[in-house]
Subunit: 322 residues, 2 copies
C-alpha cells in the first residue's frame, strides 16, 4: 500500500471532488458540540467558555508518514491525534477538527476513504466532531488538520508558567514511537506494540484538563522528544529542568527492542518524538492527578535542561529542513 | 520568482523550522480577540457568542497559484481571503486564522517571509489575528489556512434557507479573476485590474454580517463561479434560481479584455470563480443592505438554475481532479 494506483481500483480523479466529499462525510455521527456540520461554507461549533483554543498540524507523505509503513487509517488517526494532543496540552477539551487534504489525482479512492475512516475513528475516540474540510489536488498527500477546544472556564496552561521548585511530571509513554521507527527503518514489522506506536500515537487526552484542574503551572505535549520539548518549556518559562532517569519508565518491550537492535532504549525515552505524552509542572504542594508521575525538578534557568544533573550530549530532537 | 533558489539567497533549510517561525511571527500585532497568540501548543481566541464558526481552505502551488504569475505576498493575501470569505458567507465576523505551510527545503527564505507578509496584510485589513501555524517540509508549497469567526448572537446564514419568492442578490464583483486568468494564460501581464483580481480576491467581508442582520435566508461566497455556486444553494435549499443578465454588472474593463481576447465577458461573470463575491437570498419584503443588488429570483426547485429563463449551456464551474 504505497498510494500508487491499484489496477481496477477507483481513483479520486474518477470520483471527483464533490463525489469524494460525499464519500467521506456520509453517515458520520457528530457530537453535541457540532452545531452545524460539514456541507456549508463553514461549520459552527459550541464554544461555551466564550474562548476557543485552536491549533494546527500538517502531515506530509514521506516526511511524517509512509504508506508502506502505515495504513491510511493509521495516518488519519495520527493526523487527528497530534492535533488533539496540542489542545489537551493547554488544559482544554477538544471539540472539533477540520481537515485539509491535498492528494494526487491518481490516488486510489480507498486510500482517501480509509484515511477518513481513521480520522473519524480517532475523533470518535476523543468525542470530537469532524466538522469540515477541503480536498484539493496536489503532487503528494498533505493532511492539514486544525483542532478546536474548550477551556471550561479555566485559564489556559501555557508553556511559560513553570517556576523553580515546581515538580516536573509526565503522563503517557515515551520512546515507543522512536523504537517503532528504528524497527521499521531496519525493515522489520514487529514487535507490533512499538511499530503501532510509530504508526499513530495514543495521547492521554483527559490528562490535560485533569492537570489544569489540579493546578499545573505549565504543560506541553512531547512531540519532538522529551528533552527538546522541555527545552521549549524552559525557554518560555525562564527555568531549568533536571530529569531523573530513575523516575522514567523504560518499558521491558523497549529494552528488548534496544537489545535486538543494539540501541539504547533510554535514549529513545529521552529524545524520541511522536508519542505525544504530556509533560507538565505542578507546585510542589499539589498531589499529582492519577496517571501523572514525577520525573524531575524545575530549577533556575542557568541550569538548562539536564539529565541526572548533567547535560545530555546526544542529539535531542527533530527540526524541519535541517 | 518561481520559488527556485536564488544564488546567494538564504533558503528555509539554512534558517531551519524554529528560525523560520521566529522570522514570520516577530513583531506582528494581534487584535483584541487574540487572547493568546503564537508560540504555545495552541492559541486562545475570543468566542463571545459561545459558538465559533470554522472553515478551512488549502492552496497548492501550480493548482491554486503560480509564483510566476503572483508574488508570494499575493498568494498569502489570497490564502487568507478565500477563508475569510467563507466565514462572512455564514454571516459571521472573522476573528483569527491559523496557517499550515509545507514547502521544499530549497525554498528561498524571502518567498516564505513575503508569503507571511501577505497573510498578515490581509488579516490586518480584516482585523483578524494570525494566531498560530505549523511549518513542515514537503515537495511543493501547500498553504492550508483555517479561519474562525463569531456570529454575534445571530443564527448562521446557511446554504439551505432560500425559499421560492426570495430575491436573489449579489455583493462584490464577478468575472474579474476569470478575465485575469485568461490574460495571464495568454502571456500578458495587463490590464493590471483584472490581473490583480486573479492574483488575490477582495471579498466584501462586511457584507456577510450586514446581510445576516438584514434577514438573508441563504448565502454563499462565489468561489467556483456564480452558476456553480447557485447550484449549491439551489440543491441545499431545494429551490431553483433564475439569473437576469440585465441585472448583472459587466464592467467596461471586462468588455475591453473580452474584445481583445475574443472572449465573452458575460461568460466570465456567470461562471468565473475566485472573485469571492457573496450571493444571498432575501425575503422579497427586505430592503437590500447597501452594496447588495438584485440579480434574479428564487423559484421552485424544478426550474433548476437558469439564465434569463433558459438553461446555461456552457461549462459552469471548477472541480478538483476533473
Amino acid at each position: 500500500m504505497d498510494g500508487s494506483p491499484t489496477p481496477g481500483g477507483q481513483t479520486v480523479s474518477a470520483i471527483g471532488e464533490f463525489g469524494l466529499i460525499r464519500e467521506v462525510t456520509a453517515g458520520r455521527a457528530q457530537p453535541s458540540t457540532t452545531l452545524l456540520g460539514p456541507g456549508d461554507d463553514a461549520a459552527v461549533v459550541a464554544a461555551p467558555d466564550g474562548r476557543v483554543v485552536v491549533t494546527t498540524d500538517t502531515l506530509v507523505q514521506g516526511v511524517h508518514f509512509r504508506l508502506d509503513w502505515s495504513s491510511p487509517g493509521n495516518v488519519g488517526r495520527k493526523a487527528v491525534a497530534v492535533n488533539l494532543a496540542d489542545i489537551c496540552a493547554m488544559g482544554a477539551v477538544a471539540t472539533s477538527v477540520v481537515v485539509g487534504l491535498a492528494c494526487p489525482p491518481e490516488t486510489p479512492l480507498s486510500v482517501v476513504t480509509e484515511l477518513f475512516d481513521g480520522i473519524a475513528a480517532e475523533a470518535e475516540r476523543a468525542r470530537v466532531g469532524v466538522v469540515g474540510g477541503d480536498m484539493v489536488s496536489g503532487k503528494e498527500i498533505v493532511i492539514s488538520i486544525t483542532a478546536l477546544g474548550d477551556l471550561g472556564g479555566r485559564p489556559p496552561v501555557t508553556r511559560s508558567g513553570a517556576r523553580p521548585g515546581d515538580v516536573l511530571a509526565l503522563c503517557g509513554r515515551l520512546g515507543w514511537a522512536a523504537a517503532g521507527l528504528a524497527v521499521l527503518g531496519r525493515g522489520f514489522r514487529s514487535p507490533v506494540g512499538v511499530v503501532n506506536a510509530q504508526r499513530y500515537p495514543e495521547p492521554p487526552y483527559a490528562a490535560g484538563p485533569q492537570a489544569a484542574i489540579a493546578g499545573a503551572t505549565s504543560m506541553i505535549d512531547v512531540s519532538d522528544g522529551l528533552l527538546a520539548d522541555l527545552g521549549h518549556l524552559a525557554r518560555a518559562s525562564g527555568v531549568g529542568f533536571d530529569v531523573r532517569t530513575e523516575l522514567l519508565t523504560v518499558a521491558p518491550k523497549l529494552v528488548d527492542v534496544g537489545t535486538a537492535l543494539g540501541a539504547d532504549p533510554l535514549h529513545w525515552v529521552l529524545t524520541g518524538g511522536e508519542d505525544h505524552a504530556l509533560a507538565a509542572t505542578f507546585p510542589s504542594t499539589v498531589d499529582l492527578p492519577q496517571g501523572w508521575t514525577r520525573i524531575g525538578a524545575t530549577l533556575m534557568p542557568e541550569s538548562g535542561v539536564t539529565v541526572d544533573g548533567a547535560p545530555y550530549e546526544r542529539e535531542t530532537g527533530w527540526e524541519h529542513w535541517r
